[in-house]
């Protein structure tokens, strides 16, 4: 089956920042993204778990965005402007996609 090269960007970020991040992504011209829930995690700011939250402040989500290679830099710039001051990680993987016209 015919596949096409693309980039898969996964951004783990606090839930309170989700709206800002997806707005920035749309601004950077992405055609779509998917938001996955995160149960818990650990990093420089300590360990946390979703079931230990009274407040909605603490949770995180993972935003996955598949894009054509040529749009990667715009996306990273946009994402970075949002995550810069915040905790969270950004990882980029090479991938192949079906139905390239969608990206």
């Amino acid at each position: 089956m015919q596949t096409h090269q693309a980039k898969r960007v996964e951004i783990t970020i606090e839930s309170v920042m989700e709206g800002r991040l997806t707005k920035a992504l749309i601004g950077a011209g992405v055609t779509g993204f998917t938001v996955l829930p995160v149960l818990g995690g650990s990093g420089r700011s300590g360990q946390w778990s979703r079931e230990g939250q009274v407040s909605r402040a603490g949770g995180m989500v993972c935003v996955v965005c598949i894009i054509r290679e040529e749009k990667l830099d715009d996306l990273l710039d946009a994402a970075f402007a949002v995550v810069e001051r915040h905790i969270g990680v950004v990882s980029i993987t090479d991938c192949e996609v079906l139905r390239a016209e969608r990206f």
Binding site: V16, E51, A57
Partner: protein
């Protein structure tokens, strides 16, 4: 005095306090007991819905009091002012940075709705009454403190970022504020008739839900305390118990000046004494991501909340009774 001690003891042995303690203990012992996030959120929605509606129905029943507007304005002013006091105290008592101190201060200007509910229970079981619109006062006190915190940052930390456009809107339309205020208004509109209709859902089972909710808060507070041992220096810890007392004095003065009933004064004291752990932390994560959330969450939920629940509320009740002669 004896009555007071009996009351305090009664309070300490009430199911809600005991379930909070159970949660704390379970967390300290590293039990895997946990309430699913959706259930915890569902209970918090239930509480806001019930509190707002009952408050509104009470207002519809008693008529709109002349001091209602004055109380609302006083609430807004207190919510603005208390963070300034808290900030000054923090700079003196602790070694927190300007950012952390401002973030913590913001929490103390805002309120904890569960502390408010607990105070209402204690008032009722002492045979006192209170103004139904105190729920509305609680609602208006949620947000202003956030602005104070941001103002404190801008004032004392020149390098700090500007407040982002849209954040204020987000704060005011925060889900818990909208639900509390909305239910309050619906309670006012539908009055006692509406309340009768849904009382078997929001009145009779209320205390039971509250027990489970406090179990969850105990679990969360306990986990927070366990993980934040390093962060919670003695000065901070002390602040978490001194600040509610200081805050309550502002509430006392305001309540008495407004001529509220003894119960109303206790609630004003409680609101001023309590610290937010929902609306403000969320706003702080957006606006002040550099501030350490372990500090403000642990202080608010792990120190001040249990302090108010156990020592604070009976004390505020005693003081208010003494002062108002009620």
């Amino acid at each position: 005095m004896d009555g007071m001690l009996a009351l305090a003891a009664d309070n300490l042995l009430s199911p809600i306090i005991l379930f909070f303690a159970l949660g704390l203990l379970a967390a300290f012992a590293r039990s895997d007991l946990s309430i699913p996030e959706a259930i915890a959120k569902g209970m918090s929605i239930y509480l806001l819905f019930a509190i707002g509606f009952k408050g509104g129905a009470a207002v519809a029943d008693n008529g709109i009091d002349g001091t209602l507007i004055a109380s609302l304005i006083a609430g807004v002013v207190l919510s603005f002012l208390i963070p300034m006091v808290a900030f000054a105290l923090l700079r003196v008592m602790t070694g927190l940075s300007v950012t952390d101190a401002a973030a913590v201060a913001g929490h103390y200007g805002s309120i904890s709705i569960v502390t408010f509910v607990a105070a209402t229970s204690v008032i009722t079981s002492s045979g006192l009454d209170s103004e139904g619109y105190m729920v509305a006062v609680a609602a208006v006190m949620e947000a202003p403190a956030i602005l104070s915190a941001l103002w404190l940052i801008a004032r004392y930390d020149k390098g700090a970022a500007e407040m982002e456009a849209g954040l204020m809107r987000e704060i005011l339309l925060n889900g818990s504020i909208v639900l509390l205020v909305g239910s309050f208004i619906i309670g006012v509109i539908t009055g006692t008739e509406g309340l009768d209709l849904i009382a078997p859902f929001i009145v009779t089972p209320f205390q039971g839900v509250l027990c489970l909710f406090l179990l969850d808060m105990g679990l969360v507070a306990g986990r927070g305390l366990r993980e934040a041992r390093g962060v919670l220096k003695p000065g901070l810890f002390l602040f978490g118990m001194v600040m509610p007392l200081v805050g309550s004095m502002f509430g006392l003065a305001t309540g008495v000046l407004l001529g509220l009933s003894p119960g109303g004064v206790v609630l004003f004291m409680t609101l001023s004494a309590s610290a937010s752990y929902i609306a403000v932390p969320a706003a702080m994560r957006v606006a002040l991501p550099e501030a350490n959330p372990s500090i403000y969450l642990t202080l608010s939920l792990g120190v001040t909340f249990p302090f108010n629940l156990t020592v604070g509320i009976p004390l505020y009740l005693a003081i208010a009774t003494l002062v108002t002669g009620g």
